[in-house]
């Protein structure tokens, strides 16, 4: 849930990158760290890994300050995907405002995607959130690999869900990462604006919100 402290006029939001093991959650975050050039960007913290696998979480803080003086922060987290770290996943997921589900496009990984999605649903429920209402985007990563499920098939399969259309990405090559993030910002804005009246009270409309938090080094292409 959004953490608003009126005395500092500070609003902190939390976005969690979730998904099966080795689907590219940390890669997404590293790419965002190098590609994004938002108003304010902190250090990418990569906490404790073993064999390049996330043990705790990764975190990247970004933010903007509105003309009204609102200090808006967005902390991007990844969870460890390996099955045995479920309690860590649950702790990181608690009080999330938005979720990016990073799925693996490879045909052989579809079962793992489904298991991780079920796990996300369970854990959201346990921390008091509802998968149908939390702002979320589903990204199918690793499009650059052979033996991936066709995009039309994936889009068709997910067409009836609240998360259509899906985002396609190749995080290792930096493709689709910012686009995925922008879809999330768009869905996140709807919920946050209805609670905090960002447009009315803080002069942050949807376009401003997305553009200023996802400005890239390549120029203002939002």
């Amino acid at each position: 849930m959004p953490d608003f402290s009126p005395e500092d006029n500070k609003l902190a939001l939390k976005v969690v990158f979730y998904g099966p093991a080795l689907s590219g959650k940390t890669t997404n975050l590293m790419q965002l760290h190098s590609l994004l050039n938002p108003e304010r960007k902190g250090e990418l913290m990569v906490l404790e890994t073993r064999d390049d696998r996330t043990l705790f979480f990764d975190m990247l803080p970004i933010g903007l300050r509105s003309r009204s003086g609102l200090d808006l922060r967005l902390k991007l987290y990844t969870v460890p995907g390996q099955v045995q770290h479920d309690s860590t996943r649950k702790a990181v997921l608690s009080r999330a405002d938005g979720v990016v589900f990073v799925a693996d496009s490879q045909i052989a990984q579809q079962d793992n995607n489904a298991i991780a999605f079920g796990n996300l649903e369970d854990n959201l429920d346990k921390v008091g959130l509802d998968i149908d209402t939390v702002p979320m985007v589903v990204q199918f990563n690793k499009r650059d690999l052979p033996n991936v499920v066709e995009e039309t098939e994936l889009q068709g399969r997910w067409a009836g869900t609240p998360w259509a259309p899906l985002s396609m990405a190749s995080a290792l090559k930096g493709e689709g990462v910012i686009e995925t993030f922008r879809v999330l910002l768009d869905r996140l804005y709807t919920v946050i604006d209805s609670e905090f009246d960002l447009a009315g009270r803080h002069d942050i409309d949807r376009t401003t919100f997305i553009r200023r938090l996802s400005a890239s080094h390549g120029g203002d292409d939002a």
Binding site: K14, R40, K41, G42, E43, M45, L47, E48, F56, F57, M59, P61, I62, G63, R73, K75, Y77, S87, T88, K90, A91, V92, S94, R95
Partner: protein
């Protein structure tokens, strides 16, 4: 409790001692001493971590020196905070796991208690079922025995009734013929003796066939060959049949005093009631030996029918009185009794909604009182 993700303050990351050492180390590197504080001082620059100002750095020879020192502190804080965040997260998840374990433990204990209770109930049910099976087994045994007696009685009745019938009828005709022959023979002393003797022989034979017919009738009553399972019973006639059977078994040597009152007919199983009365009379007969007597009394009142069978025989010793109703308990030699007599008697009476009480004194005798309600189930 603070969440692992809450932005740390300077005091969360470093102890005052560490802050002082850091200040001293930086001061040694700068041309002028620097100071790290949580409060903003004059000419200080912010020390940032995660977009958050966690402290202020003042002093130094120039603004650029302050900036450089503050940047170095921020850089160091990144690694201190990494450890702090990981440790906090580890603490949070360990606490959550422990709480979960405790919850599971409580749930397990509750379910264990439930299963123990179930197991106790199960044991009780098994005990009850065993009792039911034991009783059914015994009833089955008894009914099989009754059926075999019934078959035997039916066979005997069928095979004997006809010959006895024509023997009896022929004998009566023969006696008439003897009467007719009497005036035709010469009236001599020898002839008179012979005819008188002949007549007596026939009369005794007729008496004998009558006795056979009566025994057959008693057997039929006893086995209730010609009665439905549940019928209106005349307890007096059942009692008389049973007395005749017992007498037959003991060669008519028993002294049985009958005092039978007028009784209403009651619904019941005649064969089982007969068997009960026979068992009680048989016990009494065994108790009295050669010189005792058995008193049989029936009476009826509003409550129902009361049958008393009393003997002045050997009585039942105190030591075994509690066992006499137990199935397969017997004092008789092996082969002469199954130890079911009183058990079946009591069960039959209970099945008819009645009561059977036994009163005995060693060397003085035994009294059995059987009370049956006039209307079953009333």
């Amino acid at each position: 409790m603070r969440n692992f993700e809450d932005d740390p303050a300077l005091a969360d990351l470093l102890t005052p001692n560490q802050i002082q050492r850091l200040s001293e180390g930086l001061s040694a590197l700068c041309r002028e001493p620097v100071l790290i504080t949580e409060q903003r001082l004059n000419e200080s620059v912010p020390v940032e971590f995660n977009l958050e100002t966690i402290g202020w750095l003042s002093g130094g020879a120039s603004a650029s020196e302050r900036e450089a020192a503050a940047g170095l502190v921020s850089f160091l804080m990144l690694f201190v905070a990494k450890y702090r965040l990981a440790a906090n997260l580890h603490h949070d998840t360990t606490e959550a796991s422990y709480a979960e374990l405790q919850r599971q433990n409580a749930a397990l204990k509750a379910s264990e208690a439930r299963y123990r209770e179930l197991s106790d109930q199960l044991q009780q049910q098994v005990d009850e079922q065993v009792a039911v099976i034991r009783q059914t087994q015994q009833e089955l045994y008894e009914s099989a025995r009754l059926r075999s007696v019934g078959h035997l009685a039916a066979g005997v009745a069928h095979e004997i009734n006809n010959p006895v019938g024509f023997i009896s009828s022929n004998l009566r005709v023969a006696r008439d013929y003897v009467d007719n022959l009497e005036p035709l023979l010469p009236d001599t002393a020898d002839n008179r003796d012979m005819l008188g003797d002949f007549s007596d022989l026939l009369s005794e034979s007729i008496e004998g066939t009558d006795r056979i017919a009566r025994i057959v009738a008693d057997l039929k009553t006893f086995a209730s060959i010609d009665q439905a399972d549940n019928a209106l019973c005349d307890l007096n006639s059942l009692l008389l049949s049973a007395i005749h059977l017992v007498q037959t078994e003991y060669d008519h040597n028993l002294t049985i005093i009958e005092s039978l009152g007028e009784l209403p007919r009651i619904p019941g199983h005649p064969s089982r009631l007969s068997q009960t009365l026979f068992n009680l009379l048989d016990n009494a007969a065994q108790a009295i030996g050669n010189d005792g007597r058995i008193l049989v009394r029936t009476q009826a009142d509003d409550a129902g029918i009361q049958v008393t069978i009393q003997d002045n025989g050997c009585g039942i010793p105190d030591s075994i009185r509690s066992q006499v109703f137990d199935a397969f308990f017997t004092t008789r030699p092996v082969g002469s009794g199954a130890g079911l007599g009183l058990t079946v008697a009591r069960d039959t009476v209970h099945a008819h909604g009645g009561q059977l009480t036994l009163d005995s004194q060693e060397e003085a005798g035994t009294r059995v009182i059987l009370v049956l309600p006039a209307k079953q189930g009333a």
